[in-house]
């Protein structure tokens, strides 16, 4: 017990010694917070992929620095973000991948959301090969040859057929129908997440394993590995009208922006920023690279890009 007492004594002496040092006081250099009266709070949904995060980083940065908004980023999956339009918890979604079902529900039926045009990013979906495989067997780039090499893609999960690796359940996919309608000797195996998909491709390239799987652009991973797209039968308007009979490639998606009705009517300068915001896949990939590979914070990445592309930003701001 005396030992304990002594240690308490030593500790308090130490604490006292520390007090003598003092230091900067809380609130000393504090200037009154900039209220940003015009803009107020801007609730921005951040969907879980790095490309989207790049969009959000830049829009949030510009909204904060140029418009004085208080930006609240909400990290949410797509579906959940759309729910937020109705409850007022989310003002804007910056990169929508053709969620027609959600548009029907929230824009047409509930009328709580508004489509405000393309983000300028072009979405590409398809089947991809790791670079080494495409280099070694270039004929794989034509879907007609896929059956010839089906045994190459066998795994413990594919039940004797070739394995076609699919991704996250939220991704738009026709792959099961495609395999059936193109009479491919493959089985669609769901990796279940983007993480699993990327890890599979990374591993395939490193250890020279054959893999074929669903992937998409724009995507930060292309900075690390230039995956090669397989040519499926070309897309023609309407060829994917019946989900069960699809036998053609995916269309090119114009990714667009959705905001809540309330936000659109609010007259907030942040709304105009979201409306005018538009950039290319390359722009997005640059910022995504800053975040994903150079490990910059989204804010720092946005700052760097904005400083290098002031003219584009000014155009969004109507300057």
């Amino acid at each position: 017990m005396t030992n304990k007492l002594r240690s308490v004594g030593v500790l308090s002496a130490l604490a006292l010694a520390l007090t003598a040092c003092g230091g900067a006081k809380v609130g000393e250099a504090e200037k009154p917070a900039d209220g940003g009266k015009e803009c107020g709070t801007f609730n921005l949904a951040v969907n879980p992929w790095v490309g989207y995060e790049a969009n959000a980083a830049v829009v949030a940065y510009v909204a904060t620095k140029d418009l004085g908004c208080t930006v609240t980023k909400k990290n949410l999956k797509e579906e959940i973000s759309w729910q937020g339009f109705g409850t007022g918890e989310v003002d804007a979604v910056l990169e929508n991948w053709g969620h027609e079902d959600l548009k029907k529900k929230y824009v047409e039926q509930q009328k709580v959301a508004v489509v405000v045009g393309p983000s300028g990013n072009k979405g590409v979906i398809g089947w991809y090969l790791p670079p080494w495989l495409a280099a070694e067997k270039p004929e794989l780039k034509d879907w007609n040859n896929l059956n010839k090499f089906a045994s190459l893609f066998k795994t413990s999960e594919s039940g004797g057929k070739g394995q076609l690796l699919d991704g996250d359940p939220s991704f738009v996919t026709n792959d099961e129908a495609l395999v059936k309608n193109l009479r491919l000797d493959y089985k669609v195996v769901y990796a279940g997440s983007e993480t699993a998909l990327i890890q599979a491709f990374r591993d395939a390239e490193k250890n020279k394993k054959p893999v074929i799987g669903y992937f998409y652009e724009p995507q930060w991973f292309f900075n690390e590995l230039k995956l090669v797209k397989v040519d499926l039968p070309a897309y023609k308007t309407g060829c994917d009208a019946d989900p069960a009979k699809v036998a053609c490639d995916y269309p090119a998606y114009d990714l667009d922006k959705i905001v809540s009705k309330k936000f659109a009517d609010s007259g907030s300068p942040a709304y105009d920023l979201v409306k005018n915001f538009s950039w290319t896949n390359d722009d997005q990939n640059v910022v995504a690279k800053y975040i994903a590979e150079d490990k910059m914070t989204p804010d720092a990445a946005a700052e760097k890009w904005v400083n290098e592309n002031r003219s584009k930003v000014d155009a969004w701001l109507g300057k």
Binding site: M1, K4, L5, V8, L11, S12, A15, T19, G22, G23, A24, K25, V26, G27, E28, E30, P48, W49, V50, K74, N75, L76, K77, E78, E79, I80, Q83, G84, T87, E89, V90, L102, K105, T155, S156, E157, L165, D168, P169, S170, E176, A177, V188, V189, Y190, A191, G192, S193, E194, T195, A196, Q199, A200, R202, D203, N207, W220, P243, I291, A292
Partner: protein
């Protein structure tokens, strides 16, 4: 079914039953050979049934905006925000929280000392400082706020319910059903509907955590009350104690250590929900983990995961120490010491409110990035060295065990599987197992995801066998040896609270996207709880009993197999049961790494509105599997006891 027969055999060898089970399996195999491929009820990944579409339509009907859910949301929100402004977020017009890091460390250490002992106080201070050095102070405090809110609410509701379930047989039966539902229903299933009721953010996240974390404390409280020897209760009664007195003076004190295990498990479960709750914007470490995952940054994810583990270990040790501390009035000296300590805490809090260095954790020591780099390096090394070997293991297990088992379950006609499982249940557990099994299997057919359920069942059975085997061995070892327990416990805590998302990336690299990866993840997650409950049961075996066995010259093996395991039988049944449920609760995470089946369906329902109904049905299917397996194991365990002719004054398990 291997798991069930396996665990039963361990307790009693009844040749006739084994023969019966073997015969049944042979008949099943023969019929499978003839009938495989018919009536398998397969459903494509994107396909739905009318039932699923009906469920999807119902999704829009319920929703937020009613007074009750708004009221609950506001209260819970206020609680979380209050805790956050106290320790985590800039608040009340100040650029820092009310209590800065120094104040939090001092206060936590003081509380640990006051309720536990000086060792855990030191551990608390060290643990929290370490988290600060990791560069994750604010995130950790956000997580802690959310966890405290959820655990406090869980205990407020859970302990009284647990006591009730301990005293009333009828309520116990109802409660068990509801708890099974709460624990096996994948969090992904109710995460999306919860946001409909409670909007996005801390309130919904807290409630999701609460739902997931409350069952252990209810179960273990009930278990503890029921384990109090009937003689003690009768003694109290005969001395004229009222029900209330018996509860307060006999039942509660005697069950305290087990209740603390329950509180423990609730805290662990709450912390393990942190990453999942981040999907609906729960603040804190979960966000860091999910963000890191997007770029497959194992190092950063590990760093944040480690912070969760450190929090868990601190909370675990403090609650355990508090549980071990006998209830008695403090001595005068202790009172003086406590007073002095409280004064020191106040000084520290004042500092943390006044000076920046004590309010915001200094950032010059960036331990976090170094941990991240080291973790990434170790992972890369493990992958390089073991990469080929692990693929071999995976293929051996998959082709040797998993695929045949899955083929038997998925390719048999549904009615054959149903008949076979019901017959097995009948042999193992009698009507009490066969009736629920029949109901569950028929309902499974009704969910429309029969085929996926059978795929999941195969993986679940394999994972559970491994979990039970490892859990019993580890549990007996740690239960018999305190020193081993001291070493193994942190590892167990880590396994339980390290977010599965963190080790999924390395596991993906080691095993690829496959069902095996999911099984491995489930084993890591479920072994700790099984081990802890078995160890607790072994420790609860009266010393006199063990010594009696020793004195007649029993070998260690005899003591374990003839005395400790049989006496701890009830704890082991509970351990098997919890292991099973933890495995099932990991099924969804398995769906994210290539296990497909029900896990994928649930995740898809969460992510895609047109699959909402199918996801819900799949969640239901997981629960049905859980209830079915649970009923069969419980009834089989009860059956076993009857064969042994053991007479104990209870009719509970």
């Amino acid at each position: 079914m291997a798991s069930i027969t396996g665990s039963i055999e361990l307790i009693v060898r009844k040749p006739r039953k084994v023969v019966l089970v073997g015969g049944l399996l042979v008949v099943w195999l023969a019929l499978w050979f003839v009938l495989r491929g018919v009536h398998t009820l397969t459903l494509g990944g994107q396909d739905t049934t009318p039932f699923h579409r009906w469920l999807t339509e119902q999704a829009g009907v319920v929703g937020s905006g009613n007074a009750i859910s708004d009221g609950i949301r506001v209260v819970v929100d206020q609680l979380v925000v209050l805790l956050q402004s106290l320790i985590a977020q800039p608040s009340y017009g100040r650029p820092v929280p009310v209590v800065g890091w120094l104040g939090v460390v001092a206060l936590s250490a003081f509380l640990a000392w006051a309720f536990g002992n000086w060792k855990v106080a030191l551990l608390t201070a060290a643990g929290l400082t370490f988290i600060g050095l990791q560069g994750l102070w604010q995130e950790s405090m956000d997580t802690l706020s959310l966890t405290i809110a959820a655990v406090v609410l869980a205990l407020l509701a859970g302990i009284p319910l647990g006591i009730w379930a301990g005293l009333s047989d009828r309520f116990f039966k109802v409660a068990t059903l509801v708890l099974d539902l709460m624990q096996t229903l994948p969090t992904f299933v109710y995460l999306a509907p919860l946001t409909l009721f409670f909007a996005i953010g801390p309130a919904a996240a807290t409630i999701a955590t609460l739902i997931y974390a409350a069952p252990p404390v209810v179960r273990l409280t009930a278990h503890a009350i029921r384990s109090v020897p009937a003689e003690s209760v009768e003694a109290a009664r005969s001395l004229g104690s009222t029900r209330g007195q018996t509860l307060a003076k006999v039942l509660l004190p005697m069950s305290r250590s087990t209740v603390v295990v329950g509180i423990n498990q609730t805290i662990m479960a709450a912390l393990s929900m942190v990453t999942v709750a981040a999907l609906i914007d729960a603040p804190g470490l979960g966000q860091t983990v999910l963000k890191a995952l997007q770029t497959l940054d194992v190092g950063v994810a590990f760093n944040a995961g480690l912070a969760i583990v450190v929090l868990a270990i601190v909370l675990d040790r403090v609650t355990t120490a508090a549980g071990d501390r006998p209830w008695r009035v403090a001595s005068l000296r202790r009172k003086i010491l406590l007073g002095a300590g409280a004064l020191g805490v106040l000084v520290a809090i004042w500092f943390s409110r006044t000076y920046l260095w004590a309010a915001e954790f200094p950032t010059d020591v960036n331990l976090g990035s170094r941990i991240a780099v080291a973790a990434a390096d170790v992972t890369a090394w493990v992958q390089d060295v073991f990469g080929g070997f692990t693929y071999g293991v995976r293929d051996a297990v998959t082709f040797g065990v998993l695929n045949p088992l899955q083929a038997l379950l998925t390719e048999s006609p549904w009615w054959l599987v149903t008949a076979a499982v019901v017959a097995l249940a009948m042999v193992l557990g009698g009507w009490r197992a066969a009736l629920p099994a029949t109901a569950c299997l028929l309902l499974l057919v009704g969910t429309g995801v029969w085929h996926d359920a059978m795929v999941t069942l195969a993986s679940t059975l394999l994972a559970t066998v491994v979990v039970v085997a490892v859990g019993i061995v580890l549990g007996v070892w740690t239960g018999r040896n305190q020193r081993v327990d001291n070493w193994v416990r942190p590892v167990l805590d880590a396994g339980q609270t390290m977010p599965p998302f963190v080790y999924l990336v390395p596991f993906l690299a080691l095993f690829g996207t496959s069902r095996f990866t999911a099984i491995a993840a489930a084993v890591v997650f479920a072994v700790p709880v099984t081990t802890k409950i078995v160890a607790d049961g072994i420790r609860a075996v009266p010393v006199a009993t063990v010594e009696a066995a020793n004195s007649v010259g029993s070998s260690t093996w005899q003591v374990i197999s003839k005395v400790q395991l049989p006496v701890a039988r009830r704890a082991i049944t509970l351990a098997v049961n919890q292991g099973l449920i933890y495995v099932l609760s990991m099924v969804v995470v398995g769906g994210l790494v290539g296990a497909g089946a029900l896990g994928y369906d649930v995740a898809a329902g969460f992510a895609q509105s047109e699959l909402y109904g199918k996801g819900l049905a799949a969640g239901l299917a997981i629960v049905l599997l859980g209830v079915m397996l649970d009923r069969i194991t419980q009834a089989a365990a009860r059956r076993t006891r009857k064969f042994r002719g053991t007479v104990r004054g209870d009719n509970l398990w």
